[in-house]
């Protein structure tokens, strides 16, 4: 039995549902010693902004129970350097894998400007708007925690491109469905769920925060239950596809997200623990489908049986 792993992320066909989570895979180059980049469903780049951003002061990470905090703060060399560097490298070295550029900005116009600059680049398949970064002072999560602000960003960006527009939502909200509905109404083609939970760690001995920015984003297995819940809630309410993420370490984790209603999944923190995680997840989904008699991976999507 061969399993059909292909999925459609809106209008974007992918060879399998497994992508990389922004900021955890750079643009793939660093992983090319461990991973066959052409096997990935898609590569989601780290956050790209119009101008270079320096990120936050160190320490920028801390380990927590089954998770980690980060306050990297979207350090990136800006869109020009991105086009010349990572994007050029990707179109030479992994041209068969769709590249989704994760976009950051301090204002709605900022996001649109990055997209406008990238519109001329053939190797960009889609955009993911990060309106949920807890690690920048202006913008970032503020856009993802207010429907009005989220709508504004999506509107500006929607008018800047016909390419698929994916909105990455923040889990730090009272009502994820409300925000998801808003961005869908503004023309989003898909949503990514979830970005990191806002958290904090303290070193009791020094009475200092473990991160110089005090708070940071929690990721890893610890947050999987919250991520699964939000994917399920949004899948029940919306029609556009969902990219599910948050603590995916194994194929079984990924399958749980598909069952909850995600069309695609992304591996984030898992890349740090084992740089070959994405390959293991792809192989594992294939194997799991085979041993469970699932012929098409899309049959899993949203297949949760909730009646007891």
């Amino acid at each position: 039995m061969t399993v059909d792993l292909t999925v459609n992320l809106g209008s974007l066909p992918l060879k399998n549902p497994v992508m990389t989570a922004s900021g955890t895979f750079a643009s793939g180059r660093e992983f090319s010693d461990f991973v066959d980049l052409t096997r990935l469903g898609a590569i989601v780049t780290k956050g790209v902004s119009m101008t270079p951003w320096p990120g936050n002061a160190s320490p920028r990470i801390a380990e927590t129970a089954s998770g980690m905090l980060n306050s990297i703060g979207l350090q990136n060399p800006g869109v020009e350097a991105f086009i010349e560097g990572d994007l050029a490298w990707l179109s030479t070295n992994a041209s068969s894998t769709p590249v989704i550029v994760n976009v950051s900005g301090h204002s709605a116009a900022d996001y649109a400007r990055v997209i406008e600059r990238l519109e001329t680049q053939d190797s960009v398949a889609a955009y993911e708007l990060n309106i949920s970064c807890p690690n920048v002072d202006t913008g970032g999560m503020a856009f993802g925690t207010s429907s009005t602000a989220a709508a504004e960003v999506v509107r500006e960006c929607r008018s800047a491109t016909n390419r698929p527009l994916i909105i990455k939502l923040s889990p730090n909200v009272t009502d994820i469905v409300e925000i998801a509905r808003t961005v869908e109404a503004e023309g989003a083609d898909a949503v990514s769920l979830i970005n990191t939970l806002l958290g904090m760690a303290i070193d009791a001995n020094t009475r200092r925060p473990m991160l110089s920015r005090v708070v940071g984003g929690l990721s890893g297995p610890a947050i999987k239950p919250v991520a699964l819940r939000m994917v399920w809630q949004v899948a029940c309410a919306l029609d556009i596809p969902i990219i599910g993420m948050g603590g995916i370490m194994t194929a079984e984790d990924a399958i749980e997200f598909l069952i909850a209603g995600a069309t695609c999944v992304a591996v984030g923190t898992g890349n740090f623990i084992d740089p070959t995680t994405t390959m293991k997840v792809i192989d594992g989904i294939d194997e799991w489908c085979r041993s469970h008699g699932v012929e098409q991976v899309t049959d899993l999507v949203g297949s949760l049986e909730v009646s007891w």
């Binding site: 660093e30 002061a57 380990e63 350090q75 740090f272 623990i273």
Partner: protein
């Protein structure tokens, strides 16, 4: 001695694990591929447990490599190294990502080198001392530690270095005081082509200042918290004259004059 070999994931087997100093263990691992390719100053990113509670790998310098074996000197500090201390010979639960990072560089025409180690800073200097000796480069080692029981790698340094000088805070071995007093004297008395240093960041900064004063080339190995170890996560940044660099790929060894030590870079607190 720059980073050229492509890194890989390698399962390792514990060959031995012995206490060699107060709070310090020496872990010998069978890791043939890593042993064959690692260079002085590079490190491995070690997955210690398979449970998710302590999620991240831990970076460790390779102290020595021979045959199929690599040696790691580790200080017991927290959850990860506590688990490491409990590993028994035959354990096959760990794997490493490596060889990682850019190690020590030996400038052309080097004939005299000074190695300055503070505490566990001796770890990444072990392989270097051996290779300098093999290359016929006259090497002096200046080594500091809080007390005699905290000194590591004494046998190795004594074996391969032309001379070793020791300082302990309490005078329980070598002279009493900081190793920076030793280096000040050595740098005044002898001409070194290059100084290699690793240790607590305050010590490193003092050594670098001494070198800069005398115009001696200096390389420093910096410790940063690391998530990925391969350049992707940007958790390990170091501010340099040419911008933010990643300690895991552009370092951990940097040319001292390149590094801009400033208040935004807080080394891990132990």
């Amino acid at each position: 001695m720059t980073h050229t070999e492509h890194p890989f994931v390698e399962h390792v087997e514990v060959l031995s694990n012995v206490r060699v100093a107060s709070g310090v263990g020496l872990l010998s691992l069978t890791a043939p591929r890593c042993a064959a390719t690692i260079r002085p100053g590079q490190f491995v990113h070690l997955r210690i447990g398979t449970q998710t509670s302590n999620l991240l790998r831990r970076p460790f310098s390779v102290h020595r490599a021979y045959g199929q074996t690599i040696e790691i000197l580790y200080q017991v500090l927290g959850a990860g190294t506590l688990q490491l201390a409990e590993k028994e010979p035959g354990d096959t639960s760990m794997d490493l990502v490596g060889p990682l990072g850019t190690g020590w560089r030996v400038p052309q025409n080097t004939s005299h080198a000074l190695l300055v180690a503070g505490g566990l800073g001796a770890a990444p200097l072990g392989m270097l001392a051996e290779q300098l000796a093999e290359a016929g480069i006259a090497t002096v080692v200046a080594q500091g530690a809080p007390t005699a029981e905290r000194l590591v790698a004494r046998v190795l340094f004594d074996r391969v270095a032309r001379r070793t000088e020791v300082a302990t805070d309490d005078g329980s071995a070598g002279e009493r005081g900081f190793v920076t007093a030793v280096t000040a004297r050595l740098l005044a008395a002898e001409k070194f082509d290059v100084v290699y240093t690793c240790g607590p960041e305050v010590m490193e900064r003092a050594v670098i200042a001494q070198c800069q004063e005398r115009g001696v080339a200096c390389q420093v190995s910096l410790e940063r918290l690391m998530a990925c170890g391969i350049g992707a996560c940007l958790s390990c940044v170091v501010t340099t004259k040419s911008g933010l660099k990643r300690a895991c790929v552009d370092g951990p060894v940097f040319d001292a004059e390149e590094v801009l030590f400033d208040a935004t870079e807080i080394p891990p607190k132990h």
